[in-house]
């Protein structure tokens, strides 16, 4: 079985987001970049499947050289090799095009990624890749087992979940609790240094969207504190002042 795991390099979840250049550029200064948390779940499950069933796991990233620490960490966690498309991930369509190009050349049984990246929260790439390759896409997947050529999955839906079966190949957007995040061990970190990382040039240049500028949300007003022994006042205020109930 061949598994492709697509990962994003994104600002750590605790990052205070700021912009520079008159709100036209994300301010990378002092920002710690991490593997997308959802992508990390996808990778962890891929490595588990490899250990259980035997599989090759290739990490895939569209990004510039500064994404390499994230890629090396994925290799340290247990992926076998990696591909980096040397380009800024401009938009979902562009990224999907890169994944589809690689998957057309080397067919994969499973293309896994997070349900969404935590920067643009688009959650589009898996669906567009599925469409480009003419195969099903499913998201958000919270359980994945493979028996022969059948994948058995659980997908979260509004207010519940459903169990799904489908034939490989598939594109899946993953989320917890599909697997526990893995932390690389020393041996993994050592071997990751010599695992192959192929750098390729982008196929196609189709970006269909562009960010013109950014804006920060208006700060919330000061909090109005209510003494605990007058808690019922809150309900009155929610009705008469905030007018939400």
């Amino acid at each position: 079985m061949k598994i492709l795991v697509c990962v994003t390099s994104v600002p750590d979840t605790t990052t205070k987001i700021t912009f520079t250049g008159n709100n036209t550029k994300f301010n990378k200064a002092g920002v710690q970049f991490i593997t997308g948390p959802y992508d990390d779940y996808a990778l962890a499950r891929a490595v588990e499947l490899k250990e259980k069933l035997g599989a090759s796991v290739t990490v895939f990233n569209v990004g510039e050289a500064d994404a390499e620490p994230v890629i090396r960490k994925c290799l340290a966690i247990g992926a076998d090799d990696a591909i980096r498309v040397n380009a800024e991930p401009i938009d979902a369509y562009f990224v999907a095009e890169q994944i589809a190009a690689v998957a057309k050349e080397t067919p994969y049984d499973l293309i896994l990624m997070g349900r969404e990246s935590i920067d643009y929260n688009g959650g589009q790439v898996h669906g567009i890749v599925g469409e480009m390759l003419g195969i099903p896409s499913i998201s958000p997947v919270m359980r994945l087992d493979v028996e022969g050529t059948t994948a058995k999955m659980t997908r979260e839906i509004e207010g519940g979940k459903e169990d799904i079966e489908a034939q490989l190949p598939l594109v899946l957007g993953c989320q917890e609790p599909i697997a526990e995040w893995k932390i690389p061990n020393m041996r993994g970190i050592m071997t990751a240094r010599t695992k192959p990382l192929k750098i390729i040039q982008p196929a196609g240049q189709d970006s269909l969207t562009a960010v013109a500028n950014y804006e920060m949300p208006a700060p919330r007003g000061a909090v109005k504190m209510i003494p605990a022994d007058e808690a019922e006042t809150l309900i009155k205020l929610l009705r008469t002042e905030a007018k939400v109930i």
Partner: protein, 320 residues
């Protein structure tokens, strides 16, 4: 070249988020000097479909093939793509939801469309097509320029205030040919909470965290939610501990909500939790720790014991 809106049904009724999408789509149609057409898939009464007119749609295309009775993102995307072609639509609008997300991406692939997710305002058409979206899980906004010929807008729930008129929409049957490949998934089991207010659609949310000390204490959270007709939610540690189901977990890696009122009881307010709730209109925080960071992001706060405060609030709501 009308604006096309996909409107989602829940048990035969148009979902509130889809009414918002219809209203949004009709406003865009107005800006573009054209009309708004809604596509509805699955069984529903004609009279219910005609209510799309109240939110601005002039026409409803209704696809009723029995194969479409169960929601299916891939097949539904194909139906909407066929409708877009028939209507010559250059703008497709839908509400963000489990189904809407699955459809939007497949549609973008089919139509080679520029897709804006998490749209929170009407577009600016003064030069090109620019639309404001929520990014970094609500920590910032981006103004997206959609450059493709076809544009898809996925509207974030509860960010568009609808207005209603007495108009009704005409309903036309729509029966595009279906593609077998779109039915490749076999759903073997579905578990869905019934009777409760669904969290992603809820106007009011009562959420609780580890401060509740254990799943057996959730009764007082549910009582307040019931009194308010609110949905219940929880923080990540609570769902990790299996005190509550995962579909109730709000936060950076859970459900993102934007209700009118979010009440957080016994949640300290880690930045990852705030990311999932910070676009709520009004936030109430109840915590016994006066230094809980959540108070800084709240509109109303009570420093106190949740086990005393929540029942008091429930009583006050019941007395309204």
């Amino acid at each position: 070249m009308s604006v096309l809106i996909f409107a989602e049904l829940d048990e035969g009724k148009l979902k509130k988020s889809s009414q918002e999408a219809i209203f949004y789509g009709s406003k865009v149609a107005g800006m573009m000097g054209t009309s708004a057409t809604a596509v509805v898939i699955g069984a529903a009464d004609q009279s219910e479909l005609a209510t799309a007119g109240r939110f601005g749609a002039t026409k409803v295309l209704h696809a009723t093939d029995a194969k479409l009775n169960e929601p299916n993102g891939m097949a539904y995307a194909s139906v909407v793509a066929a409708a877009a072609q028939q209507e010559g639509a250059k703008v497709v609008v839908l509400a963000k939801s489990s189904l809407g997300d699955a459809m939007a991406a497949r549609l973008a692939g089919k139509l080679k469309a520029g897709l804006a997710p998490n749209v929170i305002e009407l577009p600016d058409l003064s030069s090109g097509f620019r639309v404001k979206t929520s990014i970094y899980t609500g920590k910032a906004f981006a103004f997206n320029e959609l450059k493709a010929d076809v544009k898809i807008l996925a509207i974030k729930k509860n960010t568009i205030a609808t207005e209603e008129t007495d108009a009704t929409a005409t309903v036309e049957n729509f029966a595009p040919s279906l593609n077998d490949a779109d039915f490749a998934l076999r759903v073997t089991n579905t578990e869905k909470a019934t009777g409760d207010v669904l969290l992603p659609e809820a106007d009011l949310v009562v959420s609780a965290g580890r401060g509740m000390k254990g799943p057996e204490n959730w009764g007082i959270v549910e009582d307040l939610a019931k009194a308010l007709h609110a949905a219940t939610a929880c923080s990540k540690p609570v769902s990790d501990l299996d005190w509550r189901p995962h579909h109730e977990h709000v936060g950076q890696t859970g459900i993102k909500v934007s209700p009118n009122l979010y009440i957080a009881a016994g949640i300290s307010g880690a930045i990852q939790h705030l990311a999932g709730v910070n676009s709520s209109k009004v936030i109430v925080v109840i915590n016994k720790d006066p230094d809980a960071p959540f108070f800084k992001s709240a509109d109303y706060g009570i420093v106190g014991d949740v086990f005393e405060v929540l029942p008091k609030l429930t009583k006050a709501v019941q007395a309204l």
